[in-house]
Every structure is written in structure tokens, then in C-alpha cells.
């Protein structure tokens, strides 16, 4: 299972990348996409929406099931991945790059409280 070292992780299988401007990019892990199977639809959060850490921000639907994506931190949604509308399977083929789901401007610095790669690997 692919778990990049430079990312942070949640117990609910989201990954978080801290960008140089302090914003955070969020997606679901390789493990999560593997459990879900073929992703066919992604419900993206509305732009500018304020979301709370641990609350549903998006829904990833595979043929098999619908899975909530929880926001790893509290903040404002500043971007969503437009490529997922046409090609939701990017979440399967490139979960950490092209398959990112949304970007958030965090309201506090809680990202370092999330799991690192080793801690996440121990949970899967």
C-alpha cells in the first residue's frame, strides 16, 4: 500500500498535504480507494463553505458504496478538483496527485496533530 512520507493522515483515511502558502490539499488514501473499488461519482463541497474538522465535506461514491470524506481540519473550502467531475476514477489511479478532492484554508494550525505516514501505516 502506497503511503507517501510527506503527507499527514486521518484515521478515516483522508490524506492532507500542506502547501507552501499554508493551505491544505485533501484526498483519500490508496488504502481507502482500494477498499471502495471503482469510483464513479464525487460530490464536491461548495466553494467558500466553512467546514468543521471531523465533519462530512464530500462524498466519494464507488459502484459498491458511498463514503463520506471528513475534513481533517476546520476552515474554508478554497478550491475543488474540477477533473473529478469528468473522471472520478482519478481517485483510483492517482489518489495522492490527480485525485485530490478539495483545498482548504485552515483556521488554526492543527495539521501537525494528524498522523504521519508511519503512524497511519500502523493503522491499516
Amino acid at each position: 500500500m502506497n503511503i507517501p512520507k510527506n503527507l499527514r493522515y486521518t484515521a478515516s483515511h483522508e490524506w492532507v498535504r500542506e502547501e507552501t502558502d499554508g493551505t491544505l490539499t485533501v484526498g483519500i488514501t490508496d488504502h481507502a480507494q482500494c477498499l471502495l473499488g471503482d469510483v464513479v461519482f464525487v460530490e464536491l463541497p461548495p466553494l467558500k463553505k466553512h467546514i468543521e474538522a471531523g465533519k462530512e465535506a464530500s462524498v466519494v461514491e464507488s459502484v459498491k458504496a458511498a463514503a463520506d470524506v471528513y475534513s481533517p481540519v476546520s476552515g474554508e473550502v478554497i478550491a475543488t478538483n474540477p477533473a473529478l467531475n469528468d473522471n472520478p476514477a482519478l481517485i483510483n489511479t492517482s489518489p495522492y496527485q490527480e485525485g485530490w478532492i478539495f483545498q482548504i484554508r485552515p483556521e488554526n494550525n492543527t495539521v501537525n496533530a494528524l498522523m504521519d505516514a508511519d503512524a497511519y501505516a500502523a493503522t491499516t
Binding site: 473499488g37 461519482f41 462524498v59 459502484v63 476514477a89
Partner: protein, 361 residues
């Protein structure tokens, strides 16, 4: 958990397994979408050995089945099969099955895996004075080869010279020391093999080596739902009748025969059928799932029994059980399915949602 005799083959192909009743079965072998498309465009191979096979012998086997099944086996000639429900006294569906007329006084019933114990007990309890003996075939595996190229593959592999013309739909023929039937659950051209374990193993390996795509229950579900085929336990069960399950065509109500549930069916026909199973297609992106509420205008009229993403149509599709009185055929109100508290507009559509492209020679 129970496993089919092809379990080692599935593990060797690194399939993802899921629990299915008491069984652990392949869900997919990598991508259920690819498996779905393989069946629609070429061919796919399924292990469905979890289904229950019951052989019936004896001079009363026809009379026994005419008493037991809502469809009438008297329609069959040897070598033919039909689809039917087994009903209880209230016309609730105990199971659905395919019955094959093999030879004089010899039938084969294939029923669902999840109802195995119930149906075995039910058949025994109805035997009464009928001169019929029942044999559950634990020694046979079932493989399904489905897709427009299935017959041409069998020919080019030297396995069978039969064609879609010489083995018409719902016909059965000898194959090795078992049978090959023109049946399936995908809506495509295809056959199902019922074989002793060793022959099933060898045939599976031959198909895999030939490059035929193995397919799991995931693709089986999207393929059957695109055809509008009902799944027992989901779209129908003991609380629904065939009339309420879009299965009126499988019921034979001829006056010369009584069968379990007939009286209740006739009563329901006279009183009016309170619920019906309809097809819905979502107009926007979204995926309906079982138990999502269905609305006509502002009124809740029923719920989804099976819903999925249709890989062939690239749309959400569903079977839904709705209140007949609330859903007149000529309504101008719009249908909608509520997904996570949001109403998604839907179009009523008479299944099949998808039509097969035919035969690849």
C-alpha cells in the same frame, strides 16, 4: 465461511472477496467496471457455484413442480428451462429459480445461495405423497460464460460446436459429463455450465488462459440491474408477490392447475395490486441505493429496492417499489429520488435499462 470449489483459483487471481450470506465470494478481480464492460463487449467468466442445485426424480416430479412453482413446467419439452418463483400460501416469494426439464421424470431446480436451507426444508415439507426424490447436488460447480463472444470462444477453443441457433435461449445440452445451458443473469448472449468439480476447474483454467476476464459479484450486480432483473432478498422477498415485483409474466394462472399461492394471487388480482416495482433513471449525476425514498411531485411514493451506477449508460439507475394508487401511469408530475436529503430528478423507465448488442461471430 463457505467457499466454492474454485476458491483457490480466485485467490490465485488476487480477487477481492466479500461475505455473501454464509459464503465468501469474489467481489472483483481488480476493477468491476472493466469486468462489466468485458461482458458487454466480449466475454466474462463467473463462478456461481454458490447457487443451489436440486435434482428431482420420480414419476410425480412434474406434478410436484406444478404444485410448487408459480410458472408451469408443463410448458416445457425435454431440454428446455423456465424462470419461476416459489411462493408461500400468501403468494409471498420464497425464492426465484430456474427449472430445467432434463428428461422424463427428471428436473433440475437452481435456486439462490442465500435461501439454501429454507428451500431445502420447504421442498421436503411439500413432498407429502408425491412420488419424487430430491437430491441436492453438492458435487457440481456452476460457471457462467457471458458476453457476445461467448459462443465463438467455445467454438474456437474446440469446446462446443453449438451456436446461438442450435442452443436457443433457455435450452440445455450435454457438456462433458455435465450440462451447458443458455441461461445467465447479464442479459448478454451466454451459457452456464454445471459440471463436476474437476471438470469445472479445468474449464475455468482454460478460459483464464485464453484471456477471458474473470468477473465477480460486483459486475454481476450492475449487469443484472441494467437488465432490470430482480435480486431475491432485495427487490423481492416473502412480503412481496410476483405482481408487486414486476414478475407477472412468470406466473401461469391457467384454470387446469392449482399451485401454492395461486388463491392469494387471484385474490390480489381482483382486489388490485397495491404496490409495483418500477424502473427509474437519474437525470443528473448521482447514485441511487437501496432504501432511498422515491417521490412523485412532493409526495413520498415508495423506496429504491436496488440502485447502482450503470456503467453502460453512465447514469444512476434503480428499481423502486412504489404505491400503485399514488403513481398513475399518466401522471405529469416528476419523479425524484432523495439522496442525502437532496431530491434528484428521475425519469420512469420500463426496464431493461440497456439492450445487448448481440453476437460476435
Amino acid at each position: 465461511m463457505l467457499h466454492t470449489p474454485l476458491y483457490p483459483q480466485h485467490l490465485a487471481l488476487k480477487c477481492r472477496l466479500i461475505p455473501f450470506g454464509e459464503w465468501e465470494m469474489p467481489l472483483h478481480y481488480g476493477s468491476q467496471l472493466e469486468e462489466h464492460h468485458a461482458v458487454r463487449t466480449q466475454a466474462g467468466l463467473f463462478d456461481v457455484s454458490h447457487m443451489m442445485i436440486t435434482d428431482l426424480f420420480g414419476k410425480d416430479s412434474e406434478a410436484f413442480l406444478r404444485h410448487l412453482l408459480a410458472n408451469d413446467v408443463a410448458k416445457l419439452k425435454p431440454g428446455q428451462a423456465l424462470y419461476t418463483c416459489l411462493l408461500n400460501d400468501k403468494a409471498g416469494i420464497l425464492d426465484d429459480a430456474i427449472v430445467y426439464f432434463l428428461d422424463d421424470n427428471n428436473y433440475r431446480l437452481i435456486s439462490n445461495a442465500g435461501t439454501r436451507n429454507k428451500i431445502q426444508a420447504w421442498l421436503q415439507s411439500q413432498q407429502h405423497t408425491y412420488a419424487v426424490s430430491l437430491q441436492t447436488r453438492h458435487d457440481l460447480a456452476i460457471l457462467a460464460l457471458q458476453g457476445p463472444a461467448s459462443f465463438s470462444l467455445l467454438q474456437s477453443m474446440g469446446l462446443s460446436s453449438l451456436t446461438p441457433e442450435t442452443l436457443p435461449s433457455f435450452h440445455v445440452a450435454p457438456f462433458q459429463s455435465g450440462l451447458m445451458a443458455r441461461t445467465g443473469y447479464t442479459g448478454e448472449l451466454g451459457v452456464e455450465f454445471m459440471l463436476p468439480f474437476a471438470q469445472a476447474h479445468a474449464l475455468w483454467e482454460q478460459f483464464i488462459q485464453r484471456g477471458i476476464q474473470p468477473c465477480g459479484l460486483g459486475a454481476r450486480d450492475t449487469l443484472r440491474l441494467e437488465m432490470g432483473y430482480s435480486l431475491y432478498g432485495q427487490d423481492m422477498d416473502e412480503t412481496t408477490t410476483p405482481f408487486e415485483s414486476n414478475l407477472t409474466w412468470t406466473v401461469s394462472l391457467t384454470p387446469d392447475r392449482s399451485f401454492i399461492g395461486k388463491e392469494a394471487l387471484e385474490k390480489q388480482r381482483q382486489a388490485g395490486v397495491p404496490r409495483k416495482l418500477i424502473g427509474l433513471i437519474l437525470q443528473e449525476q448521482g447514485i441511487p441505493r437501496a432504501h432511498y425514498p422515491v417521490f412523485l411531485g412532493e409526495e413520498k411514493v415508495g423506496e429504491v429496492t436496488s440502485g447502482t451506477f450503470s456503467p453502460s449508460l453512465n447514469k444512476g439507475i434503480a428499481l423502486a417499489r412504489v404505491d400503485t394508487a399514488l403513481t398513475p401511469d399518466n401522471t405529469s408530475l416528476p419523479y425524484a429520488i432523495k439522496i442525502r436529503e437532496q431530491a434528484f430528478p428521475a425519469t420512469r423507465f420500463r426496464p431493461p435499462f440497456y439492450r445487448s448488442t448481440g453476437v460476435i461471430k
